[in-house]
């Protein structure tokens, strides 16, 4: 049984077709990268999987449960977690409280009480090196620190599918490499499937993802294992860049 099955999903905004009849699957523990030029519909796709808004057509099935009409919070309970491109921590709450909120209301939330969630948060704080900021209000952190909190909070939700929206935008290459290593560890240890959306950071894509889904103007262009996708002429044409070469030079 695939973890997530997206079937013929379409989303329109007025006259614009943002996501055009897309179908794909994600398997347990797999890492999929969704890439594509600006305006390809990636964020919309994420929002659809997450339940931020409903699809106009099509179905979404998560572990055999039809979540097509579920609001985001119910999908979170089933095991879908998410980080946002621009981090959205709960500003007045401390780092610890932020992460604990993920634990309290996420997939394991019903078995976890407030104190247990706070302890769980401590575990992630140590893991991600956020200890000096533990009791600071999340709003006062630097963007990179906020990103770490964002990821920790999503992880605390104990997701089985983690949607990471441009998690590495704005990072320098060294940090990206460290983050890739870190995510691989988490993924393997906690057995999460990750869907990463990275725009032009091929380093991360190549390092992390086994499969790549390339979107273009709302539709699925290719859905192939990473190496194939990155050297697929269709993909190169759409990007007007040279992903394969970039890898060779990296």
């Amino acid at each position: 049984m695939p973890l997530l099955k997206v079937k013929n999903v379409t989303k329109r905004f007025g006259g614009l077709v943002a996501v055009d009849n897309i179908s794909f699957e994600i398997r347990h523990g797999e890492t999929l990268a969704i890439v594509g030029p600006n305006g390809a519909g990636k964020t919309t796709m994420f929002n659809l999987i997450n339940g931020v808004f409903p699809a106009d057509e099509g179905q979404m099935i998560f572990e055999d449960v039809d979540v097509t009409n579920f609001p985001s919070y119910r999908r979170a309970h089933l095991g879908i977690g998410r980080t946002f491109q621009i981090p959205r921590p709960f500003a007045s709450a401390t780092v610890r409280e932020n992460i604990a909120i993920g634990g309290m209301f996420g997939a394991a939330g019903s078995e976890v009480n407030v104190d247990e969630a706070l302890e769980m948060a401590d575990h992630y704080i140590d893991l991600m090196g956020l200890t000096p900021h533990r009791d600071k209000p999340a709003g006062g952190l630097t963007p990179i620190e906020k990103k770490m909190v964002e990821i920790a909070r999503a992880l605390a939700m104990k997701p089985r599918l983690l949607l990471m929206d441009e998690a590495m935008a704005g990072m320098n290459p060294t940090d990206i490499d460290k983050m890739v290593v870190f995510l691989k560890e988490i993924r393997d240890k906690e057995g999460i499937a990750i869907v990463a959306m990275v725009e032009h950071i091929m380093r991360a894509v190549a390092g992390l993802a086994e499969r790549v889904l390339v979107m273009h103007q709302g539709a699925k262009l290719v859905d192939e294992p990473t190496q194939e996708a990155l050297s697929d002429p269709k993909v190169i044409e759409v990007y007007l860049g040279k992903p394969a070469e970039e890898l060779n030079n990296a």
Binding site: N50, G51, V52, P71, S72, Y73, A76, H77, R82, F84, R88, F90, A91, S92, A93, E97, A100, I101, G102, M104, F105, G106, A107, G109, N113, V114, D115, R153, M157
Partner: protein, 331 residues
């Protein structure tokens, strides 16, 4: 021990109310002022539970106080000759809670699905709407209101009625204030509080984190409404022994509630108490010096607070004491 520590912030609250009550009992001449301050504390704590914790403004809030007033009034007016004695007051409180729950569910069913500005719009007419329903359909004597001092005297005897309308109504107000504070702290220390903080800061992110925002908004809304109802039942119905729709649905009480919560610090536990004391004292002295000017002075204060000091008195204080021992008690 851990459990006790969690609830240590209730200590300053108990202290504050204890001192207030003590002063009132020691100086009977000042009881009116103390009672008024207690009223503002209760109003503030109750309102804070919703507006402070969710960030939504309910402009029709006074409707819940009004409907609670009617709860007590109805009990006394219609049941005075059933030989229930003081049980009448208890039934009045229960009815107040029931009425306010009913109204909050009716309004909430529509309003709580709406976001910020639309929610405010939905609530802007609640107090007017309900008042005109009562007057228009001549419910409970419509615009003529109810006077039930005679009924109360017949039910419990002259002396008890006197005691109820003076000391005891105000003691109940203290009780409502303490209850509101306790509930606020209980919510803050449980999932409810965290959910409310999250949805106040960023409602969409909260949903994505698995929070059923509507459920928690409703919980806060109804709790806040019931407390308002109990306040109306005691501070207005029991104390005055009459009720008129044009009195109990006046928007200026909502304005006062907003001032109190903002002055003290929205979303904090002690904020409403501090705000109530500042506002209550100021109003008291203004009434002597410049009667009729209170709102004119305080309305710009609201704007100044929102622009310059949105976190209010206690909010600012909390920042200053971060890292000290006081942190555990002042929230």
């Amino acid at each position: 021990m851990r459990q006790l520590q969690k609830f240590s912030p209730i200590l300053p609250v108990i202290l504050a109310y204890g001192v207030l009550l003590g002063i009132g009992l020691a100086y009977p001449g000042k009881w009116q002022l103390i009672a008024q301050l207690a009223f503002y504390c209760a109003l503030g704590q109750a309102f804070n539970l919703f507006m402070g914790m969710t960030g939504y403004v309910d402009f029709g809030y006074v409707a819940f106080v009004g409907v609670g007033t009617y709860g007590m009034a109805v009990s006394i007016y219609y049941l005075y000759d059933k030989g229930l004695g003081l049980g009448l007051v208890l039934i009045g409180l229960v009815l107040a809670a029931v009425f306010s729950t009913g109204l909050s569910l009716a309004v909430g069913a529509v309003a709580l699905r709406l976001r910020g500005a639309y929610f405010a719009i939905a609530t802007i007419g609640v107090n007017e709407g309900f008042r005109y329903l009562v007057e228009g359909a001549r419910i409970w004597n419509g615009a003529d209101g109810m006077i039930f001092s005679r009924h109360l005297r017949k039910a419990v005897g002259r002396e008890t009625a006197m005691a109820l309308s003076t000391q005891w109504a105000d003691i109940v107000v203290f009780g409502v204030a303490v209850l509101a504070a306790v509930l606020t702290l209980v919510y803050m220390r449980n999932k409810v509080g965290y959910a409310l903080t999250a949805l106040r800061e960023d409602e969409d992110a909260a949903k994505v984190m698995g929070i059923n925002v509507t459920k928690y908004k409703i919980i806060a809304f109804i709790t806040s409404a019931v407390l308002a109802g109990l306040l109306g039942a005691s501070a207005w119905a029991l104390k005055l022994t009459y009720v008129y729709p044009e009195d109990v649905f006046q928007i200026h009480y909502t304005v006062e509630a907003i001032i109190i919560v903002l002055l003290g610090g929205a979303g904090t536990l002690l904020g409403p108490i501090v705000g109530a004391l500042i506002y209550g004292f100021s109003k008291y002295f203004l009434a002597i010096v410049l009667p009729g000017f209170q709102l004119l002075i305080f309305a710009p204060v609201i704007i100044v607070i929102i622009v310059l000091f949105p976190e209010g008195t206690v909010g600012i204080f909390k920042k200053k004491i971060r890292g000290t021992a006081l942190e555990k008690f002042i929230i």
